[in-house]
Symmetry: C2
Subunit: 125 residues, 2 copies
DNA sequence: CTGTATCCCCAGAGATACTG
DNA sequence: CAGTATCTCTGGGGATACAG
């Protein structure tokens, strides 16, 4: 759909936005960025309230997009680990300006998303 | 939900993602960034296929979030113009890294979103 | 021209129970 | 432990007609 004022085509956004706007998607990305490797039930508890179906659906989506990878260990009981791909890590970097912008907006409106999130901001800022 | 590996809280993203992931949202932002000021029917034709209801819903949402502004002229027939706020313009800037990242992903997969979009890349900035 | 007012539809997300 | 298998439900989005 043409370019925007910066000479940037927005088309590529379609794909990633449909992905990252999925519920829990950014939390998964974030959690994996934070913990490096996590198992299914780890994610289940970090993403408090998510159902197994929703989580598996999401994990498959994220794998398909090449953001995370799955590693299964042939053990009993089963053990599966998920972790970010390099692309996933780069995505984390790419959204930082967006977060900064959003954070600034929130500040202006004195809206606090969540108590656990207070006092959190850019290491620098 | 804590911070990610970069020490960044993802909470602020929630709000903006729910906004920009709305259908046509980025197209509206982009169109306004490109054309500066647009009228309702201009947007209707640029966003080919959108219904008036969907468009008005979206425009209200974007106004509420402070991304665009509406100016009505007391004329007959009515005339209304929409344009980006400074925040809206800053949002355009903030998503550039994300677009660049997404564009790179698309290139790797040889996926072309749309013919009109080919040969488009970062002219300068 | 710029929108409301209705009605409809279905994909995404959740709840729950069950399996290899 | 790590998922399926079903079922349900909601609301975002679309179509269409109409109004100021």
């Amino acid at each position: 759909m043409k370019k925007d004022s910066n000479g940037v085509c927005l088309c590529p956004l379609e794909g990633i936005i449909t992905t990252i706007s999925k519920k829990w998607a950014m939390q998964v990305i974030s959690a994996l960025g934070h913990h490096n490797r996590l198992r299914f039930n780890d994610l289940m508890s970090i993403l408090d309230g998510v159902s197994p179906k929703s989580l598996t659906d999401l994990l498959k989506e994220l794998q398909k997009k090449g953001l995370i990878r799955r590693e299964a260990f042939p053990e009993v009981p089963p053990k599966v680990e998920y972790f970010l791909t390099d692309d996933g890590k780069q995505l984390c970097e790419a959204i930082i300006p967006l977060i900064k912008w959003a954070e600034k907006q929130d500040d202006l409106r004195q809206e606090i998303c969540n108590p656990t999130c207070k006092s959190t901001s850019y290491s620098s800022k």
